[in-house]
């Protein structure tokens, strides 16, 4: 069953400030990177795609076999930029507990499979309070995966993660992209080149680029995604 994420003229206002404005795109396979400078609206867009932030205008829908529905828990797994775990829980218990909360039929089996998917099966008995930043991120992804969602939304998954763990994380994200739609934001350019098939760049809540990471680098003319994130909005503004 193929699923398409349809973002149609979606917008979100906080008071008088517009965080995301009239943004549209569709995504139907692999990992889509969401890039932009601070305050560009990445987290707001991802929150709306995950169904945890309501949109002020437009719509986000998941279309599977010509049936459209709103994003909701179970169909969308979401790992926010900042989250805390009850430190007392073992990694395996936290994931199994998440599965039980979601009503997954066999929480232990689902947890075991999710931990395997994020390569944490060897440290499943580690308390979350003792897990590194990278492990905690992957544990969060495992918790989001236990319900086998159609879409996985990851808000800056590599934030605060060391280089070695970042590589593992990218590998996990690539593997997930082969099984479901993945939306991922980041401040680190290599995350996009290593894991994403395509990339969108936001500037002040508006979509200013959509294409492959290689296209972004070329269009930015500066040799890296980070510089492209700075240059493409300028170029876009001048063109407008």
């Amino acid at each position: 069953m193929s699923t398409t994420l349809v973002v149609d003229s979606v917008g979100r206002r906080y008071g008088r400030r517009s965080a995301v404005a009239d943004l549209s795109f569709e995504w139907d396979s692999g990992v889509l990177g969401v890039a932009g400078s601070n305050g560009s609206g990445k987290s707001t867009l991802l929150g709306m795609c995950a169904g945890v932030i309501p949109s002020s205008s437009g719509s986000v829908t998941l279309v599977a076999d010509e049936v459209a529905s709103s994003p909701r828990a179970g169909r969308v797994g979401y790992v926010p930029q900042q989250f805390g775990f009850p430190r007392s829980l073992l990694i395996a218990d936290m994931v199994a507990y998440s599965a039980w909360l979601q009503g997954v039929a066999n929480p232990s089996v689902a947890a075991s499979q999710a931990l395997q998917a994020v390569d944490l099966q060897d440290v499943a008995r580690l308390p979350l309070g003792k897990a590194s930043g990278g492990m905690a991120r992957r544990a969060g992804i495992a918790a989001a995966l236990v319900s086998r969602p159609d879409v996985l939304v990851l808000d800056e998954p590599s934030s605060g993660v060391d280089v070695e763990q970042r590589e593992v994380l990218r590998s996990v994200i690539r593997a997930q992209g082969a099984e479901r739609l993945v939306l991922m934001s980041s401040h680190i350019g290599d995350d996009f080149t290593a894991a994403c098939r395509e990339l969108i760049i936001l500037d002040r809540g508006r979509l200013v680029f959509s294409g492959t990471p290689a296209d972004a680098i070329e269009l930015g003319g500066a040799g890296s995604i980070e510089k492209a994130i700075v240059e493409i909005p300028r170029w876009s503004e001048k063109r407008a």
Binding site: G77, V79, P86, S88, S98, A99, W100
Partner: protein, 432 residues
Amino acid sequence: MVGEAGVRHLVRSTFTLSFGIPFALFVLLDGFVLVTDLRWVGELGWTVDWANAGLFVSASLLAGLVAFVSNPFFASGFRQVAQADSGIARVRLFASVWLRNLVLGLAGHAVVVGVALAITASTGPTDAILPLAFVYALLPIVIFVTLGTLASAYAPSPLVSVLVVGLAYLLSYNAASAGLQLPLVVGGEEAGMVGLEFSTSSALVWAGVAFAITGILFVAGLLVALARRSSIAAGVTVLACLVAFAGPTLAGLHLPSRVETTGRPLALVCAGSAPRVCVARGHTRQLTRIAGRVDEATVPFRQAGVDFTGVSLEEQGDSYVPGKGILDLSSSDLDLGDFAGRDYVQALTKPRDCAALWGDRIGNGAGDGRSATSSTRLLDLADALTDWGYARLSPAGRTEPNSHHDDAWAHLAYTALAHCSVSSSLAATIKK
């Protein structure tokens, strides 16, 4: 509601440091309050109820602790990752966290009660545990655990946890000092409980009120879990607290007394003779000392020719036993380790076989001038004889209103009290 993984999580996370520290804190405070007042030692039947004294303070702390340990579960980050941000998942989240917190409270208090029972059982023969005491021990724990969990579900922050401690203490304090009809402060009675037992019907009423309050708070927690707007959650929380805590008081609810007299003779242990001294089994550890002090108190009476052969002084239950002297042992005196000397003398002078004074006639004698006069004379004479005996006991020659009487008067007075009959001429000798 709490299935396989929920139970596993519950059990495993109970034995971890971040849960163990609040658990230990609660046990320490709960136990500390108990050891500041040791009158429960030796009274197995009432130890469980006395152990509730600690809950006056510790249950308030418990409310804040459960809010604190619940905060990571209700924080938005975890709810989003675990996809427990709406619907049945949040209901499960609230129910499972509440259940785990209840384990914290009940297990913590059980540790304290268990240690207290072990201590009291080691002091010697005692009466049996009263099972209904456990029902009363549960009530404030269940209520405050639910309050703390509700507060965390509404606003999972350390500040709210601290505020919950204050709110819970205020509720406990008000319930205790203003006599509010809330089962928040139960047990830890000041008075001796010998001769009393719990009323089953009262326990059901108290438990019913407690579970109604808990039910309101629990349903509020579920509604907060399901609420999409924080203003709705706030409204539900405030309304639930008002209905649960102010409602019973505003409605003028009057809870029945938790205890009633047993109507059965006390199980006693005795020592000595002339007089024979008997105390309730729970006070066995005090018997030798009390019998010794009674024996000292008899010295002036013996010198006046009073014979205590066949006289028996028994710890006072809650019913009059004809022919038995009354040994009025208050638990606070027992706790202090001794009584005032006058109390022992008074135990000897109280009219023993005197239904006119202790029995039915005093209750039915309203308007009966002769009965009232007779009772007054008996009591006045007993007081006068106590004055006399206590003055003789004091080495420095204490001055009491009736200490000037001679031994012959004392003998005459004692005989009159023993026969429950005071003549006018004897009554005239009493100085008030």
